[in-house]
Symmetry: C2
Subunit: 351 residues, 2 copies
C-alpha cells in the first residue's frame, strides 16, 4: 500500500499500516512561524496570496508527521463573492458589517462563480500540490450552507443563533431561497478546489449542533445533501463534519459523505455504532486535552484509538480546531502517539 495515502485509504475504509492523523486548524495560530508571518500580513492577505497560503499550509508538515495537509483559507472567503464585507476583530473572530436579516436582504443576494471570484484559492491549491510533491494528500474545504448562512445572518459567531433561527421559523421560504443560493456557491467552490487538485474535501457544518434534529432535517439536511451529492462524480472522499452533533449523526450521514467527523461529546465507540459500518469516522479528541501533561494527553489519545476500532475506516483528529494557545509540543505528542498505536492483534502478529 502507498503509505503516503493512508488518509485516503482510511476514508475509503481500506486497511492501513497505521492510523492516519491530521488536525483541524493544524496550520495557523498556535505555530510561532505562523504568528511571525502574521506580523507582516493579515489573514486575508495570506488567503489572497497563493504563495503565502501554500507556505502556511505546509508549516505544520515541516514540524509534524501528519498524514494530510489542509488548505489554509478562511471559511468566510465566499462572503467576498457575495459582496458581504467582513473583518477579523482582534480576538473576536470575524465580524460582518452588513448581515443578512430580512427576506428583502435575501432577495437582493446574488450567487456568483467561485472559480472567477475565488480563483486565488484554486491557485493556492495548485501551488500546495506542487510543493507537497505527493508527500501527503491535500484536503480542500468549505463551510456547509447552514454554517455559512449562519455567519451571514448573525454577523459573526454566536452563542444563541437568535437571528438565524428567527429567520428560519418566521420566513421559511426566504430561508429556502438563501440556502439555495449559498449551496450552489458552496458546491461550485468545492468543485473548483477538487479540479485544482484537492484530493479530499471537508464540509464544515460547525454550527449545526445548535439545532434540534427536526430543525436540522427541515432546514439544513436537504442543502448539505445537495452539495455533497453534487460532488459525487469526482470520486474524492468527502468528510462531513459538525460539532455538538450527537443527536444529528443519523441525519448527517443521510446527508452524505464518506467520512463523518464527530466531536468529543460523544464517545468514539458510540459514534461508530450510531454511524455504522458504511462510513469512516474522524475525531474526536477535545482540543482542551492538548493542555494536559504529556502522559495524560497520550493516555487520552490511546483511549480513543482503543475504543475506535482504529485500523479501518478511522482518521484521528480533534473534535474541533486546534486552539491558538496550544503548545506545539502537544501536537507532536498527539501525532507520535497515534502513529505508535498498535492494536492487540498487531502486537501479537509483531506488525
Amino acid at each position: 500500500m502507498d503509505d503516503a495515502f493512508r488518509f485516503i485509504r482510511a476514508c475509503r475504509r481500506e486497511p492501513v499500516d497505521r492510523v492516519p492523523v491530521w488536525l483541524m486548524r493544524q496550520a495557523g495560530r498556535y505555530l510561532p512561524e505562523y504568528r511571525e508571518l502574521r506580523k507582516e500580513h493579515s489573514i486575508i492577505e495570506i488567503c489572497h496570496s497563493p504563495e503565502l497560503a501554500a507556505r502556511v499550509t505546509l508549516q505544520p508538515l515541516e514540524r509534524f508527521d501528519l498524514d494530510a495537509a489542509i488548505l489554509f483559507a478562511d471559511i468566510l472567503l465566499p462572503l467576498e463573492g457575495f459582496g458581504i464585507d467582513f473583518e477579523f476583530a482582534s480576538g473576536e473572530g470575524p465580524v460582518i458589517a452588513n448581515p443578512i436579516r430580512s427576506p428583502e436582504d435575501i432577495d437582493a443576494l446574488q450567487g456568483f462563480d467561485p472559480e472567477r471570484k475565488l480563483g486565488y484559492v484554486g491557485d493556492a491549491v495548485r501551488e500546495i500540490r506542487e510543493a507537497l510533491a505527493g508527500r501527503v494528500p491535500l484536503i480542500g474545504f468549505a463551510a456547509a450552507p447552514f454554517t455559512l448562512a449562519s455567519y451571514m445572518v448573525e454577523g459573526g459567531s454566536s452563542r444563541r443563533y437568535l437571528y438565524v433561527k428567527s429567520l428560519m421559523y418566521t420566513h421559511p421560504q426566504a430561508w429556502e431561497r438563501l440556502m439555495r443560493v449559498v449551496r450552489e456557491v458552496t458546491r461550485d467552490y468545492l468543485a473548483a478546489q477538487i479540479e485544482a487538485g484537492a484530493q479530499a474535501v471537508q464540509l464544515f457544518d460547525s454550527w449545526a449542533g445548535c439545532l434540534s434534529p427536526v430543525d436540522y432535517r427541515d432546514f439544513v439536511l436537504p442543502h448539505s445533501s445537495w452539495v455533497l451529492e453534487g460532488l459525487n462524480a469526482y470520486g474524492v472522499p468527502r468528510i462531513h463534519f459538525g460539532t455538538d452533533t450527537a443527536t444529528l449523526l443519523g441525519a448527517m450521514k443521510e446527508a452524505g459523505g464518506e467520512v463523518i467527523g464527530v466531536d468529543w461529546r460523544i464517545p468514539i465507540d458510540q459514534a461508530r455504532r450510531v454511524i455504522g459500518p458504511d462510513f469512516a469516522v474522524q475525531g474526536n479528541l477535545d482540543p482542551a486535552a492538548l493542555f494536559a501533561p504529556k502522559p495524560a494527553l497520550a493516555a487520552r489519545v490511546n483511549e480513543i484509538l482503543s475504543a475506535a476500532d482504529a485500523m479501518r475506516g478511522f482518521i484521528f483528529n480533534l473534535g474541533h480546531g486546534v486552539w491558538p494557545e496550544t503548545p506545539p509540543d502537544a501536537v507532536q505528542t498527539v501525532v507520535e502517539t497515534v502513529h505508535a498505536f498498535q492494536t492487540p492483534s498487531d502486537r501479537r502478529a509483531g506488525a
Copy 2:
C-alpha cells in the same frame, strides 16, 4: 388532586390533570415590568432585597398561568460569600475581576456558611412563599459545582472552557479541592432555601455539556451527586438540569435527582427512553421557537407534548432560559398550548 401542585405531582411521577409548565428565567429581562424596575435597581440590588426579589419572582405569575414560581436570584450570588467580585457588564453577562486560575488560588479559597452570608436569599424565599399563599409551589435553585467552578475559573461565560479544563487536566488534585469547597457551599445554600420554604430545587449544571462523558464522570459527577444526596432527607423534588447533555444523561441520572432537565438537542421521546421510567423529565423547547409565528410555535409545543408521554412524570419547560428579546405573547402561547393539551385517550373519555 390538588391542582395547584401539579408541578410537584409531575416531579413525583403521579398522574396530573394537565401538564405543568414553567420556564427557566420566566422572571426577568423579557418582561417590560421587570425592565421598568431595572431602571431604578441593579440586578444585585434586586437580589439583595427580599421585597424586590419577591416582586420580580411574582411578575410572570401575574401575567401567565404558570405552575411554579422560581426564586429570582443570580446563580453567581455564592461568589460574594467566597469574596470573589463580579459585575454584570452590559449585554455581556457576569464578569469576574479576580478569577481562580492556579492551585494556590484554590488553596486560598475559604468555604462559608450560606445561611449567614446569603441570608437575604432565605428572606426572599419566605417573602415569596407568603405572597404566593399556596397558589403554586416555589422552586429554589443553585448552580451545580462544575458550573459555579467554571465561572470562578473562566472569569465569565465561555465558549471553550480553556482555563477550567486545563486546570482539571493539569492539577486534578487541586480541582478536587476546589470542587469539595464549592459543593459544600452549594448543598448548604440549597438546604437553606428548602428550610426557608422552597418546595423543590433545581441544580443548574448549565455548562456540563462542554465535557466528554469520561470527563463528566471523573471530574463532575461525584460532586453533583454529593450535593443531591445531601438534600435527600428533605424529601423535596430535585431537578438536575444541563444543556448539551445528550451523551451525559446516563451519568446525570446516576448523579441524582427526581427530575432530569434536557435541552432541545435531544428529541424528547429519545430523552425519556434514555432516562428511563424511574425519573421525571423536564424540557425541552428551543428558546428560539418563541420567535416563531404563533401557529408554528403552538405546533412545536404540541409536538413535544405528543412525543413526551406528557401526562405522567413530565414538566414542560424550555431547553434553556427565556431570552431577553422574547415577546411576552409567545410565553402566553406556550402556557396556553401546554394547558390545552389532551392526550387522545383524554379526548375519547371527554376529559
